[in-house]
Subunit: 600 residues, 2 copies
């Protein structure tokens, strides 16, 4: 499988983009014309740089406003094209993307477009160049790949083929199945992009909001399966216009892009099953690993975590012992494990440094993560200690693939067996900086096989917070990722706190006991309870209990949710939750109240 | 004219929003329910705070899913409503916004909706509360103000009237003229919002992208004139959901909001002409001031501006003398004046600190600015010196309303009379931080009567830059405002440079002479010139000249544009431009090349 990326996906100058693509393991790039025009290097220097980096230059793009024009205009098209063919020769590129006409088309006639493409093909042939014709989703007359294919068929020229782009096809809702009817040798190129489901004009959607496969909501494995069934054997090339990637580190973006293709190839191979061997080249598979269905532990790090330990004790955690060789203490409550790690050099405020996911066999899981280019974490271990497999997630939180039975013996208290009120970690909420939010979705989708749920927005006093839950099929692992308001940086304290939610069966009993141990939950305003009465028509005595305990309440068709929050210590707080019946949410309607209370 | 603002427009907690609204001079607020629910103060405390601040509570909003429902559901609507009426009594609010049903509507029948509103009105009457029914643009059945008015007419209840919201009407393209047919006493409330022209679903557009009047593209003076012609005499209330305002200083946002209403009232009074006295209350007018048609000067400040002075001399500026009492030096070239101000305490890098606009009579212009709450600038003056009128613009740049003849005599060289090549300042490009971009558009629209032109986006190596030109009717003043990529803060150096563009009649001669004086223009890559040939089919010798001089070129149907840039000193650089024929742009197509060259 050859992988390629368009230079427009990455920030920086052209040379910088090429270094990033090569470093991430891409085989090829598409040269986006404005990147070349703005580059100080000559075409020959770019060609030589690509050679040195082991990159091939697979496509020059785009050539616009080529067909469907009056003959007088077409003369100038040929003149423009020839200048570009000469340039491509200097670059050593033999394939040009020709997109369907947006600006100058005046003739809505397949025969005319085909005839003009044929003549362009004749000219291109004299330079040994081939043309890949692509239907833009907003083309003036040609905006559907089935029509662009009809025109290519009519052109009937060996140097004229089609370019397929998943965005232009799926954004319009066009059925990709008919791709299978196109002869493989006429599919000159394939561009891939994902995108979130947005209801906006397709041009703005395309220019600002494309994503890498696995970050959006297009059914790309299905799309790609159709392309392979057609017999396509060319490169898989990413073309992603995205406002964020345009301004973030190109090396990091390129790795994220490569990860997305490896995940996509694996998913497509899974879908094709036995067909896979009969189509395309062999697709590289990833080790199959089921999504974890439980959290193994959460690690909180600080120069001094004692404030967190006071909270843990008040909540109902038992001290589970000290680590035999590190300044680390284990706290357990039923199946919930929290590790407090005092590190003088760490950022001083307590924060979630690592999340362990319960993986029975960590070897294939770690192998999968490595194949997906997750950066490994190395922590010092001593003789007789378990070397845990861990990787750094995009926001810097370390992700451990672990299993408590393998490591709990290193603590002198062992694993507590009191099951408390059958407590377990319900969810871990991680705050994401704006620039790595989409990358995090791909990371957890691909590395841990978690599934993104529909995202929500909640209003806080300092802006809107977008929440994207990643979860395992049975709901044993739930990971809400909170995106800060765009203007906020991760260094802003406001709204930056992360939290650990603990599920129990009797929250009223648990909170009553915790208050007796000195816990002071986050205060909930009285107006909230007045509204609860109006909204849900709850019984007065239930509302009184909720009010006394600062408990929040939510209800939907599937059940009820009672929850409360602790105060924040450093950058961490805890939530206690009780899910009744089949309630599957997170009390999003209460989030504005929580955010406002935390801000006062 | 009573002014009001919905609490949802401002960031912070409810009390903080109320302080901000009062400080900005609002008479009233609308209480947005989630703000009250999340507030720690009781309704009685909020009411007392409003009293102390001199604010009235004009509206409680929103009450949802009220009509068009089955009778079984309506029983619960009445129960919910009564709880809210009791709450409103505690707050002392007698008007509730009832929006058209989005979630629970099942009956698409005006008679049913009217009957249910009438019964809600009966219940409201027992609490002396009135209901303002509003058609949401995305209502399930009722999404047009003409239909909501028909329903209110059918309800025929003294406590049931209509609420008009400019966003819900103009976003759908509904003609506001028929507002004039609604009896004034049935228009219970008026909400105003502007918005940019966006092609996206109306719900997202409304929830994230509303703007204050004068910041978007709705024809709000026309809209408001229809409302006044109907005889409406109630408050003008702003309801603006905007992602940026949700996270920026509420005091500043409230002032911006108040400014928008003062501007809107003035524009509407202008439109109504003699009618104004017969409609509504008297609308406050602003002093009428024509837009300036020339820049008076630009001031560059730094701890040491000598690097800029070297550039000025190379470009062709003449030294115009020292100020008689300050460390300030004047440079002139034709009608272009640049003042260099060495201030040890200033931020050390040279930057544009002030822009003077040529205003023949600065008194009414300054009075207008003051009425629009532009923060005045006070600079120390000595006996016999002109006290210039100046205000701080949203990005911190000081805006002077001045006229060189009044102040140039304070410099020992006087104003140079050499007209050089009839040089003048063509445009001044100011970089805007993300959080004050819309405010800047309103500032220059209202204070200086400049007109926003269609905005453009250009790709740079560190992200997309949005450019919004504000200009005077004859084009004598052009002020491109550049919005940095959303992730960048004004403290980032990247892309933060501002510039002064100087127009001349013979750029080839001017640049040739400047190079002889040692000027080194920003280098333009060779690939750019190869593309110029392909794109425009320019003559080889012209392209050779452009290439030799690092000149950029653009052409449109109206004319040609030749321009080049100096290197950047601190945060400032200069551009030389020659506009041929009626070319009216800024060479936006060349901006990516400029940004890339500046980044290397």
């Amino acid at each position: 499988m050859r992988t390629s990326i368009a230079t427009v996906c990455l920030s920086g100058g052209l040379a910088q983009k090429m270094y990033a693509a090569a470093e991430a393991g891409f085989d090829a790039i598409e040269i986006f014309e404005p990147d070349l025009i703005a580059a100080p290097q000559s075409p020959e220097e770019i060609r030589a740089l690509a050679d040195r980096l082991g990159l091939t230059l697979d496509l020059y793009q785009p050539f616009r406003d080529a067909e469907g024009v009056d003959e007088s205009v077409f003369a100038d098209v040929l003149r423009r094209a020839e200048a570009k063919f000469q340039l491509m020769q200097r670059l050593g590129i033999d394939l040009m993307l020709v997109c369907s006409n947006v600006g100058t088309a005046t003739v809505d006639d397949d025969e005319v477009s085909a005839g003009q493409l044929r003549r362009l093909g004749d000219l291109a042939a004299t330079y040994d160049i081939r043309l890949a014709y692509e239907a833009l989703a907003w083309g003036r007359f040609v905006d559907d790949y089935r029509r662009s294919w009809r025109i290519v068929e009519l052109a009937d020229h060996p140097n004229v083929g089609i370019c397929l782009d998943s965005f232009h096809i799926l954004s319009r809702g066009h059925d990709p199945k008919q791709i299978e009817e196109i002869p493989a040798e006429k599919i000159f190129f394939l561009q891939l992009a994902d995108a979130p489901a947005l209801s906006m004009d397709v041009l703005s959607w395309s220019r600002h909001h494309r994503l890498f496969p696995g970050e959006g909501s297009f059914a790309l494995p299905t799309f790609l399966a159709h392309v392979f069934r057609a017999g396509y054997e060319g490169p898989l090339s990413l073309e992603v216009f995205n406002d964020t990637f345009r301004q973030t580190d190109p090396t990091r973006t390129a790795r994220q892009a490569q990860r997305s293709l490896r995940w996509l190839a694996d998913r497509t191979a899974e879908l094709l099953g036995e067909e896979a061997s009969r189509t395309g080249g062999p697709l590289p598979r990833l080790p199959e690993v089921a999504a974890p269905e439980a959290f193994d532990f959460v690690e909180i790090k600080a120069s001094d975590t004692s404030g967190v330990e006071v909270l843990l004790e008040q909540l109902g955690f038992d001290f589970g012992g000290r680590h035999r060789s590190k300044q680390v203490r284990l706290w357990t409550w039923g199946a919930a494990r929290v590790v407090c790690n005092d590190v003088p050099s760490a950022s001083p405020a307590p924060h979630i440094a690592a999340v362990g996911f319960d993986v029975a066999d960590s070897d294939p899981a770690a192998e999968r993560a490595a194949r997906l280019m997750a950066p490994p974490v190395h922590r010092r271990t001593y003789a007789g200690e378990q070397a845990l497999r861990a990787f750094t997630s995009p926001d810097g939180t370390e992700v451990f693939l672990s299993h408590a039975e393998d490591w709990a013996g290193e603590f002198d208290g062992g694993v507590s067996s009191t099951d408390g009120h059958a407590v377990r970690i319900d969810h871990v909420n991680l705050v994401q900086p704006w620039h790595s939010f989409d990358e995090a979705v791909l990371f957890y989708t691909s590395v841990l096989s978690l599934t993104p749920q529909p995202s929500q927005e909640v209003a806080g006093p300092a802006g809107l917070v977008r929440s994207q839950v990643m979860s395992s099929p049975a709901g044993g692992v739930r990971l809400p990722l909170n995106l800060l308001p765009s203007g906020q940086l991760p260094t802003d304290q406001q709204g930056h706190a992360q939290h650990i939610a603990l599920a129990c069966h009797d929250i009223i009993g648990v909170v009553t006991a915790a208050r007796e141990r000195g816990l002071r939950p986050l205060e909930v305003p009285g107006n909230y309870y007045d509204d609860l009465v109006a909204r849900f028509g709850l019984a007065e005595d239930l509302v009184d209990t909720l009010r006394d305990l600062d408990l929040l309440y939510d209800r939907d068709a599937d059940g009820e949710y009672l929850h409360c929050y602790t105060e924040t210590v450093g950058e961490v707080f805890f939530e206690l939750v009780e899910r009744r019946d089949r309630y599957d949410g997170y009390g999003a309607g209460n989030a504005p109240v929580r955010l406002a209370s935390q801000a006062t």
